[in-house]
Symmetry: C2
Subunit: 415 residues, 2 copies
Amino acid sequence: MSSPASNLRIDSDRLWSTLTETAAFGATAKGGLCRLALSEEDAQVRRWFVAACEAAGCTVRADELGSLYARREGTDPTLAPIAIGSHLDTQPTGGRFDGILGVLAGLELIRTLNDAGLVTRHPIEIVDWTNEEGARFAPAMLASGVFAGAFDADYARTRTDRDGVSFADALNAIGFAGPAPARGAPPAAYFELHIEQGPVLEDAGVEIGVVTGVQGVRWLDVTVSGQACHAGTTPMALRRDPLQGAARLAAVVDTIGRSEPGVSLSTVGVFEAFPGSRNTVPETVRMTVDLRHPGPGGLDRLEGALRVNAAAIASDLGLDIDIAEVWTSPPVVFDPACVGAVHQTVARLGFTHQDIISGAGHDAVYVSRVAPAAMIFTPCEGGISHNEAENMTPAQAAAGADVLLHAVLAFDALS
Amino acid sequence: MSSPASNLRIDSDRLWSTLTETAAFGATAKGGLCRLALSEEDAQVRRWFVAACEAAGCTVRADELGSLYARREGTDPTLAPIAIGSHLDTQPTGGRFDGILGVLAGLELIRTLNDAGLVTRHPIEIVDWTNEEGARFAPAMLASGVFAGAFDADYARTRTDRDGVSFADALNAIGFAGPAPARGAPPAAYFELHIEQGPVLEDAGVEIGVVTGVQGVRWLDVTVSGQACHAGTTPMALRRDPLQGAARLAAVVDTIGRSEPGVSLSTVGVFEAFPGSRNTVPETVRMTVDLRHPGPGGLDRLEGALRVNAAAIASDLGLDIDIAEVWTSPPVVFDPACVGAVHQTVARLGFTHQDIISGAGHDAVYVSRVAPAAMIFTPCEGGISHNEAENMTPAQAAAGADVLLHAVLAFDALS
């Protein structure tokens, strides 16, 4: 099957026009999208998606959490489907590509196969996962998490938004709850195309990122305590200034992030001094640390380095430093066969490429728990995402969709 | 006159009992005071003070801003008075000694002279300056500022508190506005006894601080700007993280404060990262810098060192660092004759002592612009002030009052 299809390419103009057309649903004045999960805008794009998939010959079903599965049958009815998914919901001031590219490239893939008269061995299912962003209902990746057994469906249904509206009520209001269980049968494989949401590929000047895994994340809350005193009357030598300790620790966080170049990341996002008066040495500083590492034991190594340095700083400056773990998401390594299908594809199609570890979470993180999975990244302009300025070129979108198409065909031929 | 008075001592028990008695006006549950300027509690202690001074033979007048002057005539009607002043208002959660010690030690001085049958050459005036704290009506040291010509009286009258009540309305409500102009005739000399509000004297184990001046203060607002980005997708090498620049600059602030040990002070009291999300590298950090230096050109040297380092950090990390001056109070050097009177007194009375520069502002800062002035510091427990836990011993209070008495007598004998 790979032989007759080897020159097949998706229709770049058609893909771009679907991206443009659906960007009307929840469009913002600044050229972005506000399409919160299970909102009326989400319902609008869902209705468009169902109609477009049915027009392309698919049958579409919704599961009990509203995730949509558009199925194109294959030649072998005994095979589980190859799933292609991402999400159509956005951040409140989100962009036009995050998630959306992955779903609409799946539709374009089916249209391309239709035009070529090609039928795969496996069924193909395009999935729109409900509430990937977590912007309306925390946590993120909620429906794909239920699909993979990380949460149960009732947990998802009882999440509430800022106005107290439950996931279940919001879903019923837009009428997209289906009969199928959200914890579904595992697909034969799962492929997700996504913009990188970072600057690595653009900076390296390559067209495709072959995503080999998703880094682990650990969130820490750090509290540095000293003694508040009068800034005008307390000699420097008699101070126990938590801000000085926290500033040193922030520098350590940066050093830790650079300890394994291209691998480790470490960030202080929140830093606040209390009581926060300009003529008072602070009593307390609260800061957060976000650690990222893709390898086994990596997060523990980074946290260990932080704790050793924190103890030295606390001792040196007469401070108390408390470090509390808030949340850990362990690193994910994608399936070698799926990643191999992507590798083989980018080489054959002649795209410049490099391996990359995803820095952000995606539905593929959860799906990979129950099925072979891989992801494909395209560059996005300036690496900017979760922002109305999020942007990419039609050629970048088309390259990603072509790789998605041929990775699916490669997996279909081999498995 | 110094000869018959050389063994004279104030009545320590009487001084302490007045401190204890007046601490009922605005007493808080935690043993401190809430006696905001021109409040009903302030009116209570004012009525007590007027009655006590009149009972001690003084005539008491109020000026147009409510500052009270209790006058004991001297033997030479051609001489301007020696003024002794401080304030009876407090912070909202203030202590029992800040300001109050200086006023009530003046009353004790007059009672002591009465008991000894001594009359000075100069008249003596005990002054309770209105709204020293600035806690109700900003800025601080408002009435003494008007006295010295730093502000005009209408500026003071139109200040408002958090509830929108003007100084003038609050003053009228308690009935303490007098006919005399707030910008009064300069006294022959001005002495102010005050708790140190810092730990230096206690740490050195000495009984008296001879205050030779008040350090200059400069407040700066620093804004460090970089580029916000995703903590999970942006390699360390591609970041322009303002928090790292601000942390380095905070360390520089500490170094600058230590550059002239025992002389310079430098503090970051406010430090906040924006947008303040744990998985986002911040866009901006706002921090304050409080610089203190007692010498000519000292503040400029400290600020210059800060700016040189800020420019280097900004260049090194690709950041913008803006430093804006908010306020400067230049350093004050007290009058050599007044300081000399205090020096001579502590030596003669045998108190352990050291010279000290005041870190905080006091009414004496303004009064020194129009009259020879000096201050006397006593230790306070742990250096704690602007706090309900503020404390001192009866012996510490008595030592300060004895030095005040004999410094006034020394000045009176010489001038």
